[in-house]
């Protein structure tokens, strides 16, 4: 009966499409859906999509027990510079911190590439007299009258939000807190962000930039969340909508409204969180995620079942230092343009044709050959129609474009040219994967490749071979992995305190106080998020360094009672793992204490595909497909993934199609479906050779 059913819905709002996934908590059955995005008001597509999804799943709005969404609203606001008119109050002598940044130029050689203008122009960055030192002493008291006057001046400028960023507020928050009270009195109801609340960490440019960005997106994000809530309620859903943040956790509307900066890059983060869960369940705790869309490829590292994080993110050139999953992005996707440069070299991307006009084969006016066109020329993508026949394909036009623009000028055959485009794109993607792994001290050969996004499974085998990766895993409906990831995330919020001191017993005792403070804040927050006590949890970590270093190593704490000696041991081990050495006897400094509040979400086991059916029943056709110069064209069986039974085994070559993606298995590769319906591809002998060579090196 309806009342007994509990449905969970995840929505990923992308630039072109809004993807949705629904799971029935009891049966684990998953249903996917996709609707065009509505950039003017993204909540419109969310509503349309949810209604369509419920219809598809035969569910009712009243049965929706959970709704989570990933959104690019904040990010787009910054990219398009459509945020609120914002003012900044800061310490005398420091109003240009935001504009000076790191004083570097973004491109070593191209002086036409410059840093973006600050989100708050200089005329709205006002200084007030006050100064706190690095050890928290007040060198100059706060001039509250100056705060009031500056607030009045900003109001006269028509600001919709104010950011407060004082030097060393990470250490002593009293001046910022006092300034907040003054601003609240002078400008009641104005959107306000303080640096000690948004990011209580040292390094003023990162902290001010993050705080200003929060204030810049805050007012409009709040209005968007209001509209979203209205639409969700209007559709009859009583469950409150959650938002995914950059670290892959879920936040309530209230938290997202207060800390919207944490939602930047929320969609891709959900994909990686989902990948960690799905890959872990499939027996692959160490994977590189490989998410290929129309314009870009996102790669991230999951080690030991956990996504690796980064502290160096920016949005459109503005640093955002909230905890975030470390995702590297390169400009290589299905729409990447292939061209010949001035030296006669073949290049693919980073320029993309985007959704309009799109690849030549889509027949919407595109004239430049793209990676997608090359795949159509070689029969890897269906040369007749895509999206289950919904989108007709003009293969002749794709062939003509590749011939005229690439093959003829380079003196290559059509196949050589199309394969060349793919090989160049694969080389770019492979470099990104090697970069994201080696930068963190890992070797790609020790990982599996977890491929998703519309075009990930298409190129996964060749990219894995390029990087010496032996196994490829392709989840079900790879094109909607980010929406599915939302269903696998936990409610989470990160807390941090900078506490810089040589790490001895006294400092460790002091750290315990900081953790206790954060624990209390975490409990209050989980309470406000309505997480029941038995689902509450916390992860603790400290950032440590050797004295004299200016960078930190993160050490996870097993529990709240970790001893000083155990922490120092873990630091030495982690330093050695990451950097190759430890320095016994050298003083260790504590830098940050971190606590992540967790509200565990019920996930439910996914419904496996039907077992025991015949593989042959899933075969829906045969088409000519070009693999490489040695193999050439092969007549290749095409399978419908939805009809493939669990634990099916087949041998490449094979094409496996589903609504959102196409997987290519090469001749010699083995293809297995596991219990949950993930495709596991293992490399043929030819590419395994490279891997053997790399293994002994």
């Amino acid at each position: 009966m309806g009342a007994a059913r509990r449905l969970r819905i995840g929505v990923d709002v992308g630039g072109t499409f809004t993807d949705l996934a629904l799971v029935d908590e009891a049966t684990g059955r998953i249903v996917f859906h996709k609707v065009p995005s509505t950039p003017a008001d993204p909540s419109q597509a969310i509503e349309t999509g949810i209604l369509g999804l419920l219809q598809r799943a035969g569910g009712a709005a009243a049965e929706v027990a959970f709704l989570g969404h990933g959104t690019t609203v904040a990010t787009n606001m910054v990219i398009e510079r459509r945020g609120a008119r914002t003012g900044l109050l800061t310490t005398q002598g420091f109003r240009d911190v935001l504009e000076i940044g790191r004083q570097t130029r973004p491109h070593l050689y191209d002086y036409a590439v410059t840093r973006p203008a600050p989100l708050v122009p200089r005329r709205r960055r006002l200084e007030v007299a006050e100064r706190v030192t690095a050890d928290g002493a007040v060198l100059r008291p706060l001039d509250e009258a100056a705060v009031a006057a500056a607030t009045e001046a900003l109001l006269a400028e028509g600001v919709e939000s104010i950011a407060i960023g004082f030097l060393h507020a990470w250490r002593d928050r009293r001046h910022e807190a006092a300034a907040r009270r003054v601003v609240e009195r002078v400008a009641p109801g104005l959107y306000l962000s303080c640096s000690h609340e948004v990011l209580p960490e040292f390094r003023e440019f990162d902290r001010f930039s993050t705080t200003v960005l929060n204030a810049y997106v805050g007012p409009r994000m709040a209005r968007y969340l209001d509209r979203l809530q209205g639409r969700v309620r209007g559709a009859g859903i009583t469950a409150p909508p959650y938002t995914v943040h950059s670290n892959g956790g879920l936040m309530s509307v209230a938290t997202a409204g207060a800390a919207p900066v944490r939602t930047c890059l929320s969609g891709p983060a959900a994909g990686v969180i989902g990948a960690a869960v799905v890959a872990g369940q499939a027996g692959f705790p160490d994977v590189v995620t490989f998410d290929v869309g129309g314009t870009s490829t996102d790669v991230a590292v999951i080690a030991g079942g956990a996504a690796t994080s980064t502290s160096a993110r920016d949005v459109a050139g503005h640093p955002v230092k909230v905890p975030a999953i470390g995702i590297d992005v390169i400009g290589a996707g299905g729409g990447s343009v292939a061209f010949i440069d001035a030296g006669g070299g073949l290049k693919v991307g980073p320029r993309s044709v985007g959704a309009e006009p799109g690849p030549v084969a889509y027949g919407r006016g595109g004239t430049e050959p793209t990676l997608t066109d090359a795949n159509i020329v070689l029969g890897r993508l269906d040369p007749v129609a895509l999206l289950r026949g919904a989108m007709p394909v003009d293969a002749a036009a794709a062939r003509a474009a590749v011939q005229a623009r690439i093959a003829t000028p380079l003196g290559l055959s059509l196949e050589q040219a199309a394969l060349g485009i793919i090989r160049v794109a694969v080389a770019n993607m492979g470099r990104a994967i090697r970069g994201v792994t080696t930068e963190r001290g890992y070797a790609p050969e020790a990982f599996a490749l977890f491929a998703y996004g519309g075009a990930g499974p298409l190129h996964a085998t060749e990219v894995a071979a390029e990087c010496g990766i032996p196994v490829v895993v392709v989840p079900r409906e790879p094109g909607t992995m980010c929406a599915r990831g939302i269903l696998l995330a936990d409610v989470a919020l990160d807390f941090v305190r900078s506490e810089i001191a040589p790490l001895d017993e006294a400092a460790w005792a002091h750290a315990a106080t900081r953790f206790a403070e954060m624990q209390a804040e975490a409990e209050a927050w989980l309470e406000s998020e309505a997480v029941p006590p038995d689902r509450r949890d916390a992860d603790r970590a400290v950032d440590l360094r050797y004295q004299g270093q200016n960078f930190e190593v993160r050490v996870k704490l097993p529990d709240a009672a970790a001893t000083l000696d155990a922490v120092l041991d873990s630091f030495a081990q982690e330093h050695a793992r990451t950097y190759g050495y430890a320095i016994p006897g050298r003083t260790v400094e504590l830098v940050n204490c971190r606590l992540t509040a967790l509200g565990r979400m019920p996930r439910g086991a996914p419904e496996p595909p039907p077992a025991g059916g015949a593989v042959e029943a899933a075969r829906i056709g045969l088409r000519d497909c070009y693999f490489d110069a040695e193999i050439g064209w092969r007549s290749t069986p095409v399978y419908d993934r939805d009809l493939l039974p669990a634990c099916a085994r087949l041998a490449g070559p094979a094409i496996i199609e589903e609504m959102s993606a196409t997987t290519v298995a090469f001749p010699g590769q083995t293809v297995e479906l596991d219990d949950d319906g993930n495709i596991v591809l293992r490399q043929p002998a030819r590419t395994a050779r490279r891997q053997e060579l790399t293994a002994h090196a």
């Binding site: 002598g93 570097t104 036409a112 690095a134 990162d206 110069a629």
Partner: protein, 582 residues
């Protein structure tokens, strides 16, 4: 039928194999760069990324590099050439590694950059060299940091390391390492950084051998030849598009580095013939008495930087680039000094030389690449003193190079407070500085009116004012542009001058010599450095009224300066009609 079959190794390039190979090669140098930054200890290499790596072929040609500083290309090139002169490849053994830094004995660019060169063996012979260089923040000598502008010879610039083996058949020479480390004020940092540098090359060699094992040595060598030829071809196509001729440019400097000198001139004549460029520095000032001299490979690196930036910023950085560019500088000049010239602060002169090349090339590059003069300096602030943290002893050396104003371009104001040309290192956050050292940052700001007026305004320069919280801190400051400003372009005005003041805003305020070395500061004493601004572009009368108004409202240009440069009535009208766009 094979994929793309060349009839012979000499046949036409395989563009696909080359591009695939280029990516694999870049992965190797990128991984080496990651490891070097991860495994080193010092802030200068680890956080400021003042280091570079490269892969060379057996003939000493650079095939790929991951440069964080364009100037380091010089150290890499010079070291490989010197190693090959010192020891023929036939006398090298697997597991050997060479170390050097000296400007005259090993073609370095200045003594703090220590380079490690490691031969990579394949099929029983040297097939490649893995190379890296790092800026060590102290290599001895009379002053902390080893970079005094007033040094009179290389003997005042710290340890001289000729080409020596640091590893023999896989065994690190601990005695030599200890000798080098203890000639520095920070021996632990030196030891850790040098060990990391040695290890990085070993890893780079392993990665190259993997590439060879997967593809075979002959195809790899063919792809290298293709890649270098492609780079040359691509640059030549850009050069061929320029009109033939001789184009003269210049850039002045305040002095040769010692107090009391007169301004000196750097001359660059770009002689363009067909597909080739000759950069001729005849007419440049004689060898400097102080440490402003630019040794040969540093000038090469400067020229390659400028050509790439002006003609093709995305051109691969390898020896193919060098084929189309020849360089000539008179012996005994500041750009080709004789032994035993001091060179520690050569980066300042390199940036001025780049300015001279930009000036010459502005006559031929496409109009949208035109640019007014930039600050073309490497303003430096260095403070040393006793560590104050509980339980720690010894001295600290805080070193930072500051940005300045960039020249305006056709269509855009110059970038404010940005590093230029051969340097791109980041700042140290004021909070990090104050946590680490007994110093207080009193002001960190853009300098109003420091950008040259023009249709497009020059970038503003930077001010940093630091006071000591204890007695006895030693401050060293230097830079360029205290006398000679960044020139404007097509009627734009020159950028503002640099300034160095002691105790600014107090009764004790006084100017400091522009090359101040190890000045003792008492508690509460402050030093303010203001760097040079960028030049303006085009007639100020053509500046958009909204840009004039925004500059005044933003305090980037004072009302008085605006009235003077843009006209009283134009400024009044601009302000009256101004609407805040966002």
């Amino acid at each position: 039928m094979p994929d793309i079959a060349p009839a012979s190794p000499a046949a036409a390039a395989d563009p696909v194999a080359m591009e695939v190979f280029a990516n694999r090669l870049l992965s190797i140098t990128e991984e080496m760069g990651h490891i070097l930054i991860r495994a080193s200890f010092s802030t200068n290499i680890k956080e400021r990324k003042d280091c570079s790596v490269g892969m060379f072929d057996a003939g000493g040609r650079c095939i790929a590099q991951a440069a964080h500083m364009p100037l380091h290309l010089g150290s890499l090139l010079g070291a490989v050439r010197s190693v090959l002169e010192h020891t023929p490849a036939s006398a090298m053994r697997p597991g050997d590694a060479f170390i050097c830094n000296d400007v005259f004995l090993a073609r370095g660019t200045h003594q703090p950059d220590i380079t490690i060169v490691t031969p990579v063996f394949c099929d029983g012979r040297v097939a490649f060299f893995a190379v890296n260089t790092g800026h060590h923040s102290d290599v001895g000598g009379p002053y902390p940091g080893s970079m005094s502008q007033t040094a009179r010879s290389i003997f005042e610039e710290g340890l001289r390391i000729p080409v020596m083996r640091i590893c023999r058949e896989g065994v690190l020479d601990e005695d030599l390492l200890a000798m080098i480390a203890h000639n520095s004020r920070e021996p632990v940092e030196r030891t850790l950084d040098l060990r990391a540098q040695v290890a990085v090359n070993i890893r780079g060699g392993e990665l190259m051998l993997r590439l060879v094992a997967a593809d075979g040595l002959a195809p790899v060598e063919r792809a290298i030849a293709d890649l270098l030829a492609y780079t040359t071809r691509r640059l030549r196509a850009r050069i061929a598009a320029l009109p033939d001729g001789d184009y003269a440019g210049e850039r002045w400097m305040d002095s040769d580095g010692l107090p009391g000198g007169d301004p000196i001139r750097l001359c660059a004549t770009v002689r363009k013939r067909g597909e080739d460029l000759l950069l001729d520095f005849a007419g440049s000032a004689p060898q400097a008495r102080g440490a402003m001299n630019v040794a040969g490979v540093a000038l090469e690196a400067t020229c390659y930087y400028a050509v790439k930036a002006l003609l093709d910023p995305d051109l691969p950085a390898n020896s193919g680039l060098f084929e189309a560019v020849r360089i000539s500088a008179p012996e005994g000049s500041i750009l080709n000094p004789r032994f035993p010239a001091a060179t520690a602060v050569r980066a300042i002169t390199c940036n001025r030389a780049a300015g001279a090349i930009f000036d010459a090339m502005s006559q031929v590059v496409t109009p949208e690449r035109n640019m007014a003069g930039s600050h073309d300096s490497v303003p430096l602030l260095l403070v040393s003193g006793q560590r104050r943290a509980a339980g720690s002893t010894g001295t600290y050396v805080y070193l930072e190079t500051l940005a300045g104003g960039i020249g305006a371009r056709r269509g855009a104001d110059g970038a404010d407070a940005t590093q230029v040309h051969t340097v791109n290192s980041s700042n140290l956050p004021a909070e990090a500085l104050e946590i680490e050292y007994p110093l207080l940052v009193e002001d960190y700001a853009l300098v109003p009116d420091s950008g040259g007026a023009g249709r497009w305004r020059g970038g503003l320069s930077l001010a940093r004012q630091i006071s000591s919280r204890v007695d006895g801190s030693l401050i060293t400051a230097r830079g360029e542009g205290y006398v000679t400003a960044a020139p404007g372009f097509e009627g734009g005005h020159a950028g503002g001058l640099a300034r160095l003041r002691h105790n600014p805003g107090t009764p004790a305020e006084k100017p400091l010599p522009t090359a101040t070395t190890a000045l003792p500061m008492a508690a509460g004493d402050a030093v303010r450095i203001e760097t040079p601004g960028g030049g303006g572009f085009g007639d100020p009368a053509l500046r958009a009224p909204e840009a004039i108004a925004a500059d005044i409202l933003d305090g980037k240009v004072t009302r008085g300066a605006a009235d003077r440069d843009y006209g009283i009535s134009a400024v009044a009208a601009a302000l009256a009609n101004w609407k805040d766009p966002a």
